[in-house]
Structures are given as structure tokens and as C-alpha cells.
Subunit: 231 residues, 2 copies
């Protein structure tokens, strides 16, 4: 999306990948939906050779899964899958903030404080709670903040991996509604505080707690809604 530096060859395979990616992360394609290469090719008006590349890429991203040489399906959401992606996210984000402590310039720190405020401001007010639109905007701003930390770590691989985690979260967010409960104030500003203090261990601890809080929140609502999701 914001990959300005990466050349995007205007290839059909790329378009199909982007299209499927959007369809999955936007909730148009439900987890568990089977994906026929031929039907996708027909839907996009292409032959299905480009579809092969797109699907393999999607599998690498982790948005689809193919079990035992059968048809591919949109990744299903289970308690384990949620936990496991948070394990990875915790690994990435703590590592990112550790490096950010070492590399962040004063200007970047100021920028992060501004973004932290934006995140805080995007927490829906009571009247807009349960507003899907506001929730999505909040999610977007939230990821922007975390992504910026990864960028400041100066490790492109971390950014890339974090993006994958974001895609997963977006996939789930369409089926697990996690209301943005009023967070303790300065939740994110505290992360920037730690970076500013360049206290690596403290930053790690704060970020770890932050990610785990997110996991607990999502798991809580997943359990609440999993009974109703028996369709």
C-alpha cells in the first residue's frame, strides 16, 4: 500500500494477489471459503497461470492455507491461530522497539508522540462505540503507529513481517468484533517514553505487555462470540 520504494510491476498476477488480499482482509471472503483457481481466473477474466503465482504468494503471506493437496481455503480463525500470530507479533514488536531505542532520532520521537496522540484520539467516544467505521479507522491509525516503530528499527524485514501480522489481524477483525474499550490513557505514549529514555529492557517490557493486552482483549471477544459463530 505505502510501498513507494518497491516497484510494483503492473502484472496480472499482482492484480489478482492484491484483489484477493483485499477481498480477504475486507471480509468479502469468509474464513474457510474454498478458492478454486479456475473460478478465480474466470472472475478476474484471466487464464489461471497468473492465479498460481497469486495463490502461492497468498499462502506465503499466510492468508490462505492448502491442506493435503486439496483446494486452498481462506485461513480459518481458531483460538490457536490467534495465539500463534500474537506470539509472532510479540516477537517482532519487542525486537522492533528494542532497536528503535537505539536508532530513534529526536525528530522521530516527536513524530511518534504525535501518532500516539492520534491513536488516543481515535479511541471511539462512548456515543460512537460499536461504530464499525470508527473502529476501522482506529485500527488503521493504531497500525500506523506500530509500523512506524518497526521502520525506526531500521530493519526492513521487521516491517515486512509486521505487515503480515497486520493482514492477519485485519482478516480476523471482520469476524471478531473487538470494541476499542477505553484504554488507560497514554497507553501508546508510554511506548514512546520508553524509546525516548532509550531503556531497552523497559521498552521491551512495555511493548510486551501492550501486545499481550491486545491478545487478551481479542481472545476475550473471540470466546464471547464463538458460540454465536456456529453457522
Amino acid at each position: 500500500m505505502t510501498q513507494i520504494d518497491v516497484e510494483q510491476p503492473d502484472t496480472l498476477a499482482r492484480k489478482i494477489y492484491d484483489g484477493l488480499c483485499r477481498e480477504i482482509t475486507s471480509g468479502k471472503l469468509k474464513p474457510g471459503t474454498v478458492l478454486s483457481r479456475r473460478k478465480i481466473a474466470a472472475a478476474y477474466g484471466t487464464s489461471y497461470v497468473p492465479v498460481i503465482e497469486a495463490m502461492v504468494r497468498l499462502e506465503g503471506t499466510g492468508l490462505i492455507e492448502t491442506e493435503s493437496s486439496q483446494m486452498a481455503r481462506v485461513c480459518r480463525v481458531t483460538l490457536e491461530s490467534i495465539q500463534h500470530t500474537y506470539v509472532l507479533r510479540e516477537a517482532f514488536e519487542t525486537q522492533a522497539i528494542r532497536l528503535a531505542c537505539e536508532h530513534a532520532t529526536p525528530q522521530e520521537i516527536e513524530e511518534l508522540y504525535q501518532m500516539a496522540e492520534d491513536v488516543q484520539a481515535s479511541v471511539p467516544q462512548p456515543e460512537t462505540a460499536a461504530d464499525r467505521q470508527a473502529s476501522e479507522e482506529g485500527l488503521r491509525v493504531h497500525w500506523l503507529f506500530h509500523r512506524r516503530i518497526a521502520e525506526i528499527s531500521r530493519c526492513p524485514l521487521l516491517v515486512q513481517e509486521l505487515e503480515r501480522a497486520e493482514l492477519h489481524q485485519r482478516l480476523r477483525a471482520n469476524w471478531i468484533y473487538v470494541p476499542e474499550m477505553a484504554e488507560p490513557p497514554r497507553q501508546h505514549a508510554m511506548l514512546v517514553d520508553a524509546i525516548k529514555a532509550a531503556d531497552v529492557e523497559a521498552a521491551d517490557a512495555v511493548m510486551r505487555a501492550h501486545v499481550r493486552l491486545g491478545l487478551e482483549k481479542e481472545l476475550h471477544h473471540y470466546r464471547l462470540q464463538s458460540t454465536r459463530r456456529q453457522d
Copy 2:
């Protein structure tokens, strides 16, 4: 390789992927080598449709890179690429040992102690130093140990990511000779000690130091040999 649980459909794309993977990690294909899909198809006696899938997979694994719609090449080894893969490895391994602290059974801890001894034993004796064969065996045992920790973390995604890191290391190991210097004794046993004590923070610290030591060693020899590698 040891993916017993994962079904390996006997497909040509899979064979090409495995073949290329082996050629790259064994050093038969030099970093920077350009890979023509048609030539690969010819070499494997297939059409090049299966090659597409294999190459996209390899790109996902990070063993090959395609810059700006040009031909794909075997990933080149640079100072940055080494550092970045170690950043990821540090993230994975510290996360893995943290979870291992929580999940390891007494039996698994015993097993790890045994493997740690094997690693220690595989450190080449002075007379076999600079022995390529012994070095490879040492590397193998070493990764077996780390991989086991990841397995004990009960998070398959961590194992998977660690495997990618291992592939990268194997790719580099053919071009950067890192002699197994005599390590401080109980280097790896200390990791198991931390797991046994279930001291998450200590385990994290020990593992982080262990990985960074590996990075320093590899960077040191990379710098030593980089002048000679101007061919």
C-alpha cells in the same frame, strides 16, 4: 526435511523447489547467480509453469530475490543482510525460549541437556579445525538444538520461521567460513539451565547474548574474508 506431518504432494513444482533449495543451501549456486525460469525448466526436464510456483516459494523463503522485474537471483550476502537475518533470529529465538520456559516438560529438559552435550562435543577439536565436514556436522547439531527449543515453545509458526533463518545461515555458511572457535563450556547447557529454572527473563537474556555472539562471530569472519571475495 523432517516435516513428517506435512504432506508432501509428489508434484514437480515441489521437486524443483526442493532441488533449487538444496542447490542454493549447499553452495552449488553462488549468491548473485541469475536464475532463468526457462533454463531451470530445461535443467529439470519440465515445462516452466511448475518453475513459477517453485520460484515464488523460494522468494517467500527469502533464498532468492527479484529486483525491479528483472531476473531472479540467489540472495546476495551483504553486511546488512547478515545483520537483518540475525535481528529476526534473535526475535524468534528469544520468543521461543520464553515460551519453552513455560511449556517444557522435565523429559524435554533432559533431552535438551543431551542435545547441548552433543553440540559441545561437535565443536571440532584443534586437529580437526578448519575441517569442512566437521563444521557442517557441528552446524547441523547446533540447529537441531535450537529447533527443538522452538518446538517446545508449542508454536509451529516459530519453528517455521526459525527454519527459514536456518536456510539463510546455510546459504551463507558456504561462502563465509566461520570456524567453530572453542566456545566457553556449557554455552548451550546454560540455555537449558534457564529453561529448567523457568526464569523467562534470564532465559531471554542468555539466548539474546548467544545469538549476538553468533552474529559477532559471523560478522568478524565476513569482514576478514570480504576483501578476498572481490571476484
